[in-house]
């Protein structure tokens, strides 16, 4: 694996739009698809676990007699999401939905979102707690290997120049105008990409893993400081749900960007490693990154 693709920086000046280049290392490709499977299973089985008690609390304890900051109810055939004092009618999607056979399902998240598709807390836990090992150890292995092979330093590290508000603003404007980098510049992650990927790798997934561990009474005995860190088991459960929501938002934007940037080329590069550099727009060759 160390001989795997391309150091974008050193090879950048000679590459032109239209060329087929090696873009993603084998370790990145392996982790990407393993993680996609793990996150999908964790999310869908997690929604079924949520269905067993569709209420979220802050603090050390929280049960039906206590105040919930988020609650899904299904009284009188209407699905309702109650969030911080506001009530939203979510019939058809959350709380009450109709399944593929036309039968009414009165549960927080509908069967098409959950593993398994019909109510089973035990089976959802079976999936969730088994694939938690896949999620955690795949991330651990990938992060360690990415430190060793320089992926973090070369591709993900956000430089001081990139942190400047002007640079970030310029990148936001480029994204809004859908002006994607061309030629060799397309091999480098722009600062919004770096923020998103670092946010997932070092933020959301570790947060989901640690808050998940904090919900385990056995692990509380091993590492009670996690309870203090997150403000108690029920706070950890709420943060676990919010981390999952954050991952859903990331995936939504990620997929939209893949589609906008050219799904065939993007997906091919994540499967085979090969990526065709987008052609320069006005025939001008831009040698450094798109944002200079």
């Amino acid at each position: 694996m160390p001989e795997e693709p391309s150091e974008p920086v050193s090879s950048a000046p000679v590459l032109r739009g239209g060329e087929l280049v090696r873009r993603h290392r084998l370790s990145t490709r392996l982790w990407h698809w393993t993680n996609l499977a793990a996150i999908t299973i964790m999310l869908m089985s997690g929604l079924m676990i949520f269905n067993a008690h569709p209420r979220l609390y802050w603090g050390k304890f929280g049960a039906n007699p206590d105040h919930a900051w988020l609650e899904v109810t299904n009284a009188g055939g209407r699905g309702q999401l109650r969030l911080a004092g506001h009530v939203f009618d979510t019939t058809g999607l959350i709380g009450v939905a109709t399944d593929a056979n036309g039968a009414v399902q009165a549960q927080a998240f509908p069967g098409w979102m959950t593993i398994p598709s019909t109510y089973s807390l035990a089976d959802a836990r079976l999936w969730h707690l088994a694939f938690a090992w896949v999620l955690a150890f795949a991330l651990l292995a990938y992060l360690l290997w990415s430190l060793v092979n320089g992926h973090v330093r070369r591709d993900l590290h956000i430089t001081r120049a990139e942190w400047s508000p002007r640079h970030i603003l310029a990148d936001v404007v480029d994204h809004v105008r859908l002006r994607f980098p061309t030629g060799a510049a397309a091999l480098r992650y722009n600062v919004l990409q770096k923020l998103a990927y670092c946010g997932v790798l070092f933020g959301l997934i570790p947060l989901a893993i640690l808050t998940g561990l904090t919900m385990s009474p056995g692990f509380n005995a091993v590492a009670p400081f996690l309870l203090d860190l997150f403000g108690g088991r029920q706070s950890a459960r709420s943060l676990h749900f919010l981390a999952a929501l954050g991952l859903v938002l990331f995936v939504t934007v990620h997929l939209a960007m893949v589609v906008l940037a050219g799904p065939f080329n993007e997906v091919r590069s994540m499967i085979t490693g090969w990526y065709r550099l987008p052609r320069e727009r006005s025939g001008k060759v831009r040698e450094e990154t798109a944002h200079g």
Binding site: S216, G218, P263
Partner: protein
């Protein structure tokens, strides 16, 4: 170039395939005994890793400021359809006895008074339901280790089974089981008091198990008999507990 077409077809095929695979594939895998046993092997990993890292470590304890104002009672709220338990309840459990038998040197019949004369522990701990909610309560009771030392476990004993007076939802009798590591853990107690008062009916009077590093369904209520066994096979559904037999919950409930 035919790329736009192939791209579109690829996407359509991909998303339709992924959606279909997810919906039907996961349910099919869920029903496959081989796949389930693969998933279930994670339970051994949970138990093994938590025992390796945690050993005899204590569950976090809380202060009276942390107590749930209203501790939700769950599972059976009474065992009144059990005539023997009901008559004991009518007499304030004065004639009630806890039986300790199975693989022990000295089978015991213990009144509440004699249980209270053994080594006691009071702890404020968090009760975590498998569904996701938590409640914090104060429990006082007899350390299980003291009862087991009085009875004297035989070398073949590996599990303690807690037989209960209640039948949840009128089904089979409730029971639970733990291994020796949890049985001799200092926080594993037979609680006869909760929040400073005698254990209420809804919470499993006169005696419930507290095994603090595991989920709520392990905290057997209305305990009437403790049986030391070498195996869980051959007892009810063979999986070591009411919910384990009935709904396939994990026997090791530390996670």
């Amino acid at each position: 170039m035919a790329e736009p077409l192939s791209r579109r077809r690829l996407l359509a095929l991909g998303s339709a395939g992924a959606g279909g695979l997810l919906l039907s594939g996961c349910d099919r895998l869920n029903g496959s005994p081989a796949f389930r046993s693969l998933l279930e092997s994670a339970e051994d990993a949970h138990r093994g890793s938590q025992r390796l890292l945690g050993g005899g470590m204590l569950a976090p304890e809380f202060t009276t400021d942390d107590l749930s104002p209203n501790f939700r009672a769950n599972g059976s709220r009474t065992a009144s359809d059990n005539a023997e338990w009901a008559s004991h309840a009518a007499n304030g459990f004065s004639q009630w006895r806890l039986r300790v038998d199975g693989l022990v040197l000295r089978p015991l019949e213990l009144s509440l008074e004699s249980l209270k004369a053994m080594r006691q522990r009071t702890q404020i701990t968090r009760h975590d339901c498998v569904e996701g909610w938590s409640a914090i309560g104060q429990w006082s009771g007899t350390q299980l280790s003291a009862v087991l030392r009085a009875a004297g476990l035989l070398p073949a004993a590996r599990y303690l089974v807690f037989h209960c007076a209640d039948r949840f939802g009128g089904a089979a009798p409730y029971y639970e089981s733990i291994d020796l590591l949890d049985a001799f853990h200092p926080q594993t107690i037979l609680a006869h008091a909760m929040n400073g008062a005698p254990l209420g009916i809804a919470h499993g009077a006169p005696l419930r198990l507290r095994v603090e590093r595991q989920l709520g369904y392990k905290q057997a209520k209305f305990v009437t008999r403790i049986e030391a066994r070498s195996t869980l096979a051959g007892l009810y559904g063979g999986k070591g507990g009411f919910w384990e037999d009935r709904a396939d919950y994990a026997w090791y409930a530390g996670i």
